[in-house]
């Protein structure tokens, strides 16, 4: 298998121990787990900012760290791009100098990525001559990303990159990350405590809890793992989509948007029709009915079939076969009483006000 990272190490602290081993296939890998589960410590060990007590780390078969072989490449020699939780732009340099900081330190024969290309890709050319003050969070993040990519890294680490971002920025960075992976073929390890983000972005997921690696799975099968229920809290799963605005009904206070084959009424937005917008619906905000509801205030009623039912402990996650597929969170009590099963026809009820527009 085409694996880029092999690791097997542990690191102890007085109140915490990280133990992990495995190998990551090429792709976008999410590290998912609650706060304090050791996600950032894991990244820091890979990047060389923290030394494991014992173990080994290999990147593309090259030994980065090994207690047996007494090898420990310093962070500047590992060729790993790292985006910290904070944006950490160098305040004494301009945006352009920030981006070229690492590029200039990269040996010419190792430069595979042209900063000019990255600057266009991430749409930061107009900012190049500015200093770092007064930039929006999203701009800062794109600059930090461009700075890391300009070193032609062999691996990109992102520590909760969307944590501090406004929702629309999130959607834009997510698209950028997917594009970066496809275009530049740099594997990405992405730390997140948001399950919706993980489901949206990653190909594979390593789930961590309290310093232990619970399991590693292809993200599309992630929700089938029963261990997941111990670390996710109800109400946290979101459906996130790119939607196109098709019609405004301003006097009714709604806008119609299209996602795949589905048309939804959402709260009115002042964007021209034809524009794209990102929307988010909490899985626990969608109701399920077995008969078509009559005389109901909710503006969106969709008819669909149940495709898959995942049990996450006391909560149940239902996947529909609508286009696009929606995730609906219900209690196991509701599941039993309604006798829901795969293949049956159900009505989904979504209040337009429970749809969040990410602008």
């Amino acid at each position: 298998m085409n694996e880029f990272l092999n690791f097997n190490f542990s690191k102890s602290y007085p109140d915490f121990e990280l133990r992990t081993s495995g190998s990551f296939p090429h792709g976008i890998i999410a590290i998912f787990g609650p706060s304090g589960s050791g996600k950032t410590t894991f990244l820091n060990c890979i990047a060389g900012l923290i030394n494991p007590d014992i173990g080994e780390i290999r990147l593309n078969q090259k030994l980065l760290f090994s207690t047996n072989a007494k090898t420990n490449l310093s962070p500047d020699k590992r060729r790993i791009g790292y985006m910290f939780q904070e944006n950490l732009l160098f305040p004494h340099l301009t945006v352009e100098q920030n981006i070229l900081y690492g590029y200039r330190l990269t040996k010419p024969e190792e430069r595979r990525i042209d900063p000019e290309h990255i600057v266009d890709l991430l749409e930061i050319r107009p900012l190049l001559n500015r200093n770092t003050e007064g930039l929006s969070m999203g701009e800062q993040q794109r600059i930090v990303l461009a700075r890391a990519l300009s070193t032609s890294p062999h691996l990109l680490l992102l520590d909760e990159p969307l944590g501090s971002l406004h929702a629309s920025m999130k959607a834009s960075i997510i698209l950028h990350l997917e594009y970066i992976y496809k275009e530049l073929q740099i594997p990405i390890i992405y730390v997140s405590h948001s399950l919706s983000e993980v489901l949206k972005i990653s190909d594979y997921t390593m789930v961590m809890n309290q310093g232990n690696q619970l399991f590693f799975s292809a993200t599309k099968n992630l929700l089938e793992h029963p261990e997941l229920s111990s670390i996710i809290s109800p109400g946290t799963i979101q459906n996130i989509f790119e939607a196109t605005i098709i019609e405004h009904r301003a006097i009714h206070g709604i806008t119609m948007v299209q996602i795949g084959a589905t048309v939804l009424a959402v709260p009115y937005i002042q964007e021209p029709t034809g524009e794209a917008t990102s929307i988010s619906i909490s899985a626990s905000d969608i109701l399920i009915a077995l008969e078509k509801p009559q005389n109901i205030s909710a503006r969106n009623i969709l008819i669909t079939k149940i495709e898959k039912i995942d049990s996450l402990g006391s909560t149940i996650l239902i996947h529909t076969n609508s286009d696009p597929s929606l995730k609906v969170e219900i209690t196991s009590d509701a599941l039993n009483e309604m006798k829901l099963s795969v293949g049956i026809e159900v009505y989904l009820i979504i209040k337009s006000n429970s749809i969040t527009l990410m602008d």
């Binding site: 900012l49 310093s74 962070p75 790292y82 160098f90 900081y101 330190l105």
Partner: protein, 226 residues
Amino acid sequence: MFSSPDIQAILVSLQAASLGTILGLPLAIGIAWVLVRSSFKGKAILDILVSFPLVLPPVVTGYIMLIVLGRQGPIGSLLYQTLGINVVFTWVAAGLACCIVSLPLMVRALEVAISGVDHKMELAARSLGAGPIKTFTSITLPLAYRGIISAVLIAFARGLGEFGATMIVAGNIPGKTQTLPLAIFTNLQTGDEANAIRLVAFSLVLASISLITHHILLKRRGFRSQ
């Protein structure tokens, strides 16, 4: 307005304070960096040693320097035998005295400045391929800019005022090692109060220039050292 010995004293003071600052700055930066960013056994000892000139009477500092730098002393004899240089009772000795007495002030100012630089900025630079020295010169030092300016001006001002240690290790030789404070002292001793007051006034001017320069330099650069 100033007599030739006065001008000599002013020049010696400026020379000695400049030499002391130039020699002391790299040393102080190195010590401050070690104190802030590294951990080793004996760090506490270094910390205490650095503070010594601050708590010792300058005369005692001067006397120790005289012993060490004198022709019989460990460093002084080495310099004399290898290079034929005699340091004591020259303006260079006055410069060294300035360096030693202002070192703790510089180190403290730089410690504050360096510890004020977000360590994660340095880690970000490391992950971008900068080695420890490159990180220090391209990130830490520019971000500690304000602290460095402060350290330099404090050291220079302290050097201009240096009296006790200088008198012992460099002497009070008019036109050669007599600095501004020594000249004021000598004038007062010999009853030439008018001349002393002129030199006092000049000291005030020099001190004001230092403070104003400090203010202007810190205001000019727009960025915060975080």
